[in-house]
């Protein structure tokens, strides 16, 4: 278990709604990932600066603060290009061009199995 966990990249969950964040953390931990959590883009950036093991960021779009999820995604793509980006939002009409290239989008509410599958696929490409 420990050996398997160490091979997987860590996931940073960014979600301002506490209950949904709690459930997302549970879901991703259940899939075997180490999880960090942040309630805002600013907190997420601080965590990325401290933890180089974060390989995937799983973020909401609609968040209060200086940056929303889309701005955060663009920032992460720019500053940490290898970090994979997964975006989930209740806003369905998110233009493809507003998301960084290669990022994956899920409409909220999402099915647990879809998210964990996507995360595992990403982890597999990272080796």
């Amino acid at each position: 278990m420990t050996a398997e966990k160490s091979r997987l990249p860590s996931v940073l969950v960014v979600e301002d709604e506490p209950l949904i964040r709690m459930d997302a953390v549970d879901m991703i931990e259940d899939a075997g990932f180490k999880v960090y959590e942040a309630a805002s883009a600013d907190a997420a950036i601080a965590l990325l600066e401290q933890h180089s093991d974060i390989g995937i960021i799983f973020t909401d779009i609609d968040m209060p603060g200086s940056m929303d999820g889309l701005k955060l995604a663009a920032y992460v793509r720019d500053r940490w290009p290898p970090v994979a980006i997964v975006i989930a939002s209740g806003i369905v009409e998110v233009g493809k061009d507003t998301m960084p290239e290669g990022s994956i989008f899920f409409a909220k509410p999402y099915a647990t199995s879809h998210i964990t599958k996507a995360l595992q696929d990403i982890a597999a490409t990272m080796g």
Partner: protein, 439 residues
């Protein structure tokens, strides 16, 4: 028609005789004044032709006789003895001339009638355009605005005539000028009807939404001769529309959020359920509680509600009328997210108390208190204290309720939440900045 006296002749003149044949002697008879009068008051188009049968050669005529002849205005002299053909020709040409006078009269009457109709139609146009609630204007085919009704000046408060030509565009909100100008030019070029919504400067200085429309009027050759346009104040409708859009967007957001919460609650309940039967009961009771919380938020228009109301409503299903609950604290405003989270937390606490805590025995009590601690940053404190119930044991497993309270609730209030499984009774406390209640 033969007449014997000049008076009778005067009457005939008034009735518009075609031509008069008269002897010179007859001109000196009685009633010369009546005849002059009748001739003088003829309408401008009329000049009755006279054929005078003269007595002598002109050289022998007295001054009086000559003046009498002049007074007829339109007279030819025929010397006697008469040649029949001469007389016939003279009468014929006099009647022809008279006929032309009548044609001129008809033409003048027609023109006058048209003028009258035009005047009436213009008066009608002004009366109509000034009676409607809309602003009405017209423009020449090149787009030059040449008319506005009173309502336009009343609405805009600008001096009459000051918006003629192209000056109207300056009355529009600067963000709307370009689009309105573009559409207007397009209509002028193509002849297509003009329609645009824009903000027009009201005399109060505020901009109000109006609907501008115009249609061209064509002549028989199909050319545009004029544009007629209107502006209708649609400010109230527009605001209501905007409000409805905002409301719908907010509703959509809330519904999505609620479904996400339900999704979390179901998945969390199932993770920790011993069996499906228990899970079903828990899920149904939790969904029922969330529905009630939403009812209250709807009543308070989704923005915020009152703390006392939230607490009373969350505990209502658990109260038995035996006075097991007591609560005291100020009635504070609380935001919709916090209200929903607190409702869920209280529901979990009360459900837990019914199964294992103070409400599971006949003697247990629950005291709920809250207050605002005033300091640099006003702090909100909330306490749930169970007593006189059974001995409390630390649970072996954390269920949705305790995880929700410890991990999520505090997040909604930007504060700290704590559950203590004291052996004499469970306690729960939440402390948060007062601003966290309505964030």
């Amino acid at each position: 028609m033969p007449v014997a006296t000049l008076k009778d002749l005067a009457k005939l003149i008034e009735r518009r005789a075609g031509a008069v044949v008269i002897t010179e002697e007859a001109l000196s008879g009685d009633g010369a004044d009546a005849l002059s009068e009748a001739l003088a008051v003829q309408p401008s188009w009329s000049d009755v032709p006279f054929i005078v049968l003269a007595n002598d050669a002109a050289t022998n005529r007295s001054d009086i006789a000559a003046r009498r002849m002049d007074a007829l205005r339109n007279a030819v002299l025929l010397s006697r003895p008469l040649h029949a053909e001469e007389l016939i020709r003279a009468v014929r040409s006099a009647l022809t001339a008279r006929g032309r006078q009548h044609e001129a009269r008809k033409r003048m009457e027609e023109l006058h009638l048209r003028e009258q109709q035009l005047f009436e139609s213009e008066a009608k146009f002004h009366a109509i355009t000034d009676s409607v609630d809309q602003m009405i204007w017209s423009a020449l085919p090149d787009g030059y605005h040449d008319y506005y009704n009173h309502r336009w000046y009343e609405f805009t408060g600008v001096p009459e005539g000051s918006t003629d030509g192209e000056a109207w565009n300056g009355m529009f909100h600067k963000d709307d000028q370009e689009i309105a100008w573009g559409l207007w030019r397009h209509s002028l070029k193509t002849g297509e009807p003009y329609e645009v919504e824009y903000r027009l400067r009201h005399r109060s200085g505020d901009y109000r939404w109006v609907l501008g429309r115009a249609q061209p009027v064509h002549n028989e050759a199909g050319e545009i001769v004029r544009w007629y346009g209107s502006c209708t104040d649609i400010h109230a409708i527009k605001l209501a529309q905007e409000q409805r859009q905002l409301m719908l967007a907010e509703m959509n957001h809330r519904v999505k959020n609620t479904l996400a919460m339900v999704n979390v609650m179901v998945s969390q309940t199932l993770r920790q359920a011993d069996n499906l039967h228990d899970a079903q009961a828990s899920i149904q009771s939790r969904i029922g509680m969330m529905a009630q919380a939403h009812d209250r938020l709807i009543q308070s228009s989704w923005k915020e509600t009152r703390l006392l109301e939230v607490i009373e409503a969350a505990l209502a299903p658990h109260r038995t009328g035996e006075g097991r609950f007591s609560f005291s604290g100020p009635d504070l405003p609380i935001g919709s997210k916090q209200a929903l989270a607190l409702t869920m937390a209280l529901h979990e606490l009360a459900t837990n108390a019914s199964k294992y805590g103070a409400l599971s025995t006949k003697t247990g009590n629950i005291r709920i208190t809250w207050n605002v601690e005033q300091s640099d940053v006003d702090e909100f404190q909330f306490h749930w204290t169970e007593s006189n119930g059974p001995k409390v044991a630390q649970p072996t497993r954390r269920g949705f309720g305790s995880r929700m309270i410890e991990q999520a609730l505090a997040g909604y209030f930007s504060g700290k939440a704590e559950l203590n499984y004291n052996s004499d009774g469970l306690t729960f406390s939440l402390s948060a900045p007062l601003s966290g209640l309505t964030l």
